[in-house]
């Protein structure tokens, strides 16, 4: 039976070390733990990025995406934490953790999760630049293609 993923949508920072430890501490069935940490970059004079989301739908969409990963791969654990609000360069935005007996399931499901989050999680990013201009980040065709390689 698939594991129940841990899904959080929050403004606060998260503790990657604690989240990682929670997926394998005290157990002997986890052989590989893959993770992806998405971080705010400061390209082109970006001073901040504000993530808007759709409360209610966001949690639902993230849970569905994480459950899809747990159904497709034999995971022993899965954690998805996505922040919203105003973040500055260097701030972590999103954390994906997948644990499994074997490395391939952990690595593939981690890549799947971040690809699907890009195109199926209701977040919108407003970039704020030195000088005060702002700009909405546009969806990228390459993200659609990356998500599509996992089917459906």
């Amino acid at each position: 039976m698939p594991v129940v993923p841990r899904v959080l949508v929050q403004e606060a920072p998260f503790d990657m070390g604690a989240e990682t430890a929670a997926l394998f501490a005290g157990r002997a069935d986890v052989g590989g733990l893959a993770s992806f940490l998405g971080i705010c970059r400061g390209d082109g004079g970006l001073v901040a990025m504000t993530l808007e989301h759709y409360p209610g739908m966001t949690e639902r969409a993230l849970r569905r995406i994480a459950e899809e990963a747990c159904a497709r791969w034999p995971l022993t654990g899965c954690t998805v934490i996505h922040r919203h609000g105003r973040l500055v360069p260097g701030d972590p935005i999103v954390l994906v953790l997948t644990a499994s007996a074997h490395r391939v399931a952990a690595l593939d499901s981690c890549a799947f999760l971040i690809d699907w989050l890009k195109t199926k999680a209701p977040f919108w990013k407003s970039e704020e630049f030195a000088g005060g201009t702002t700009r909405w980040v546009e969806a990228k065709a390459e993200d659609d293609e990356a998500a599509a390689r996992w089917g459906r």
């Binding site: 739908m57 977040f123 919108w124 993200d143």
Partner: protein, 83 residues
């Protein structure tokens, strides 16, 4: 019917949400877009290019032909950029 707007759709409409009562001939997402676009210049600007819009009905992504009905929560927004 509760309608929510996000990102630049929200900014162009000038509101994050509104309660609306479209006429009975508005039966799907596309019809709702056409009707909402007539409500104000801001709405018209937000809904000018339907290709740039995405929708959700009751917190599920929904295509233009997805039905909408009184009591639904319908949201309009640009393509998402999560992750």
């Amino acid at each position: 019917m509760k309608v929510l707007y996000f990102a630049w759709v929200r900014q162009k409409v000038g509101a994050a949400e509104e309660d609306v009562s479209p006429p009975p001939e508005v039966r799907d997402v596309a019809g709702l877009i056409a009707w909402l676009a007539t409500r104000s210049p801001g709405h018209a600007a937000a809904f000018a290019d339907a290709r740039q819009l995405r929708a959700a009905v009751n917190q599920e992504f929904a295509p233009p032909d997805a039905p909408v009905a009184p009591g639904d929560e319908v949201a309009f927004f640009p393509p998402v950029t999560g992750g």
